[in-house]
Symmetry: C2
Subunit: 200 residues, 2 copies
């Protein structure tokens, strides 16, 4: 049964397709957009179309970028081209960039190996990574996949794959997060923090 | 600092404007849309534009409807035109219609009187309600605003405004919700439930 006009029902349906948005939330969002001025709604629609149309993967690092050329990070002359940091997701690039600690290049896999979700190595951007590493200009590959089972598996798989190229392969340090309490750290994290202890 | 391509940042911004959507959720939604096929994203954009373009207020009851004429409820010959149920919001019409109990017409105020939010009687669709009631065909007006302070105030204001027209003015019954437990009912609800007790 439809209690709203069809055009509104359709908008609610579209919102309800988004992850984590139920029917009630979708209704709230649709009503909010309806209450906005015409330009605002047009801008929203335009932003969707523009993003979908102009955003592609960088041909080098596979990170999201606009236009056809390499992304700003790959194109920058100020980045250290001898280091590649391998991440699962464009959001991880953003997180690492926020830390302002890393000055090398990235490689975005767009996922992790996950047999449960039918994602195998061929579904990820692994071939292009191997090509980049085999070029000979890379001296270090940092595995920065998430510290969960799938991220670990992917990092292990890649490190085995890249071993023949005689590059240094590293992994982000495990340990207790800065600003946290030992009391609340889980056993696995504490174990890794002890294992990885460093002289001060 | 922007770590995503501008078109993506703009889409994230648009999502983040929605009520209850923070930056992190907006990013998740934007990435989800980017991962969808082109048609899906185009459909979403189209739904926004179509809803915004085709949905207007019914000239009679002010409920949302498509096209210029009266809404399906006002246009229906099977509805009882002598009863008007006054609600704050189009969503309330949908809720009452779901109950399948009511067969009269509606009047949507599009808000409630709320001095805190600078909403006065002139900001609501009250004039058109008075016009409908003054027509003489209406015999009962049911106040179905929410049972909170603002809803009550609005109902009281309207009932005083409509008194001169010698129509029956009623209010939805207060009491314990069906399927709930007395144990968890709040004092005000229990008091009203006792006051409104009926013979069985």
């Amino acid at each position: 049964m439809q209690y709203f006009p069809p055009a509104l029902e359709q908008l609610v349906e579209q919102f309800a397709k988004l992850p984590g948005v139920g029917v009630k939330s979708a209704q709230r969002l649709a009503f909010y957009l309806l209450a906005q001025p015409e330009e605002e709604a047009a801008q929203f629609a335009q932003a969707i179309l523009a993003a979908k149309k102009s955003i592609h993967c960088c041909p080098l690092c596979q990170n999201l970028t606009e236009g056809d050329g390499p992304c700003p990070i790959c194109a920058s002359a100020r980045r250290d081209g001898s280091t590649i940091c391998v991440v699962a997701d464009p959001k991880d690039v953003a997180a690492l960039e926020r830390s302002r600690e890393y000055n090398g290049l990235y490689h975005v896999l767009h996922g992790v190996i996950s047999p449960m979700n039918h994602v195998g190595p061929d579904d990820l951007h692994i071939k292009s990574l191997v090509e980049r590493v085999s070029g000979g200009t890379v001296s270090e590959v940092i595995m920065a996949t998430n510290p969960d089972t799938e991220g670990e598996t992917t990092a292990m798989y890649l490190s085995r794959l890249l071993r023949p190229f005689s590059v240094k392969i590293t992994r982000l340090a495990y340990g207790i997060p800065v600003g946290s309490h030992l009391e609340y750290a889980d056993d696995a994290t504490l174990m890794r923090a002890l294992e990885g202890r460093q002289e001060i």
